[in-house]
């Protein structure tokens, strides 16, 4: 094994081009487990810790450009207002020690259906900035997950940053597990209200071969909210509407039975989380509307 230590981004791209089989290591919280247990013996390990700009983020007009290696702990601390869904999801990852090292770039690199960043990114709307010596491109998050632990990166590409849309409304993240800390999701659900475009977006984790959106549920809810004039009149989402949305979210799952839970349980739990997160975010939207209108 060889240990590559690029001192900057260009050097990292050159090294990856020369050794496409090189395994990047950021926080190491996935890679080192595999090496410690002999599940992986890469020819080259490529340390990203020295590539400083991967640890930075910029808050732009519409989106946050989040460096690939920014640890979850930083996201929780500094980006709660701009990226509430991702900050909530980050807080559910493992433990403080893991959150101090691991980040979204590594979560995307692993592309596990159980990764906690994914439902939040799907719900918020995001693009992955991938680059190689051949050039840079933006991969829409919906096109990034290509199979179980597979993603759209080419062998010579690295993730430089993730562009996540800034929240324009309430967001929630919900995760089912056996306890509060150190739990890989049995299943998870992210939901974001986008009042500016009058749309709702979702993300489902651990209940299909890849992280997925519940598109039919989104379309149904978008139409129902529009039809009832709910974005304007600020009325409550009636239980039958929430239930129909929940059923459609459960139907979007394609889960398996495994040690963490059965397929049936996962489908049920996703429905419950969908209903709850919709209620929480919608109530918070109505509350905010009342305050702004009251103040106006």
């Amino acid at each position: 094994m060889d240990f590559l230590r690029p001192a900057g981004w260009e050097e990292a791209l050159a090294a990856k081009a020369e050794h496409p089989a090189a395994v990047p290591i950021a926080g190491g919280t996935d890679v080192m487990v595999e090496i410690n247990f002999d599940h992986r013996r890469p020819e080259y390990l490529m340390d990203l810790n020295r590539v400083g700009d991967l640890y930075e983020w910029e808050v732009g007009e519409d989106a946050v450009r989040l460096g690939a290696c920014v640890p979850y702990a930083r996201i929780m601390e500094h980006l709660r207002a701009e990226l509430p869904g991702l900050a909530l999801a980050s807080h559910t990852v493992a433990s403080p020690q893991i959150r101090n090292r691991g980040g979204v770039g590594g979560n995307l690199g692993t592309a596990s259906p159980a990764g906690d960043a994914h439902p939040a990114l799907l719900a918020a709307g995001a693009e992955v900035e991938a680059e190689s010596v051949r050039g840079a491109r933006r991969i829409p998050i919906d096109a990034f997950y290509t199979g179980v632990k597979r993603n759209a990166l080419a062998p010579d590409e690295l993730i430089r940053a993730v562009h996540v849309k800034k929240a324009d409304g309430p967001q929630q993240y919900s995760k089912v597990g056996t306890r509060n800390a150190m739990v890989i999701a049995v299943c998870a659900f992210g939901l974001a209200l986008h009042p500016e475009t009058r749309t709702v977006r979702t993300g489902i984790g651990s209940a299909a071969p890849t992280p997925v959106r519940a598109r039919a549920a989104e379309e149904f809810l978008n139409a129902a909210l529009e039809e009832g004039g709910l974005w304007d009149n600020g009325k409550a989402v009636v239980p039958s509407l929430a239930q129909r949305f929940a059923d459609l979210c459960a139907a979007a799952c394609d889960p398996i039975d495994d040690v963490r839970g059965t397929a049936g349980y996962r489908r049920h739990a996703v429905g419950v989380m969908a209903r709850r997160t919709l209620t929480w975010t919608w109530e918070s939207y109505r509350g905010a509307r009342r305050t702004t209108e009251g103040a106006a």
């Binding site: 094994m1 060889d2 240990f3 230590r5 290591i25 926080g27 190491g28 919280t29 890679v31 080192m32 487990v33 090496i35 410690n36 247990f37 013996r41 890469p42 390990l45 340390d47 810790n49 493992a94 433990s95 403080p96 020690q97 893991i98 101090n100 090292r101 509060n180 800390a181 150190m182």
Partner: protein, 172 residues
């Protein structure tokens, strides 16, 4: 490969390090610092917790090559670190500072049974007390949520951290 880094304030070097080796292995097997414990090697138990450039991490998940030129503090360095904090100065080389106040509190509160989890808990709790000198129970639980103990049931550990914070407040 060869790794040069700082451990508990002293420059150290490790030779013939395998590229896939963890920081935990280097500390225990190459530098003779067995304080950090190896229990799971997969980030689940926290007994290998050290500080890397000040931040608590699982040393079993840090590749040795990643610590080149960086600073690590292990449980063996906690007494020196506490000494530096209280004197605001660097400890004199060779000075035997014994136990840190937090380590003493763990003993006094009966928070140590088999002791396997203790080094990791000490490093994590010590860092938390730097950030929250007067921690709530929620602060303590959150900071220690990545450290497993199979013996104590955690209550005595909570007591120990509260005791250390209270003693520090008394001393001012």
């Amino acid at each position: 490969m060869r790794i040069d880094f700082t451990v508990n304030g002293r420059p150290r070097e490790a030779d013939d390090v395998w590229e896939g080796e963890s920081l935990l292995y280097v500390l225990r097997e190459r530098l003779g610092l067995p304080g950090s414990k190896n229990a799971c090697e997969q980030g689940e138990c926290g007994s290998c917790t050290v500080r890397l450039d000040g931040v608590p991490v699982c040393s079993c998940l840090v590749a040795a090559g990643q610590v080149q030129g960086r600073e690590v503090v292990t449980v063996e360095g906690l007494a020196d670190l506490a000494g530096q904090r209280s004197r605001g100065a660097v400890a004199r080389p060779g000075e035997d500072t014994g136990l840190s106040p937090l380590q003493q509190a763990f003993l006094d509160a009966g928070a140590v049974q088999c002791g396997f989890c203790t080094p990791g808990l000490l490093v994590a709790a010590d860092e938390m007390l730097e950030r929250h000198p007067d921690p709530s129970d929620a602060d303590i639980r959150e900071a220690l949520s990545g450290n497993l103990c199979r013996c104590t049931g955690y209550e005595k550990i909570m007591d120990a951290v509260r005791l250390a914070a209270a003693r520090r407040a008394e001393r001012g």
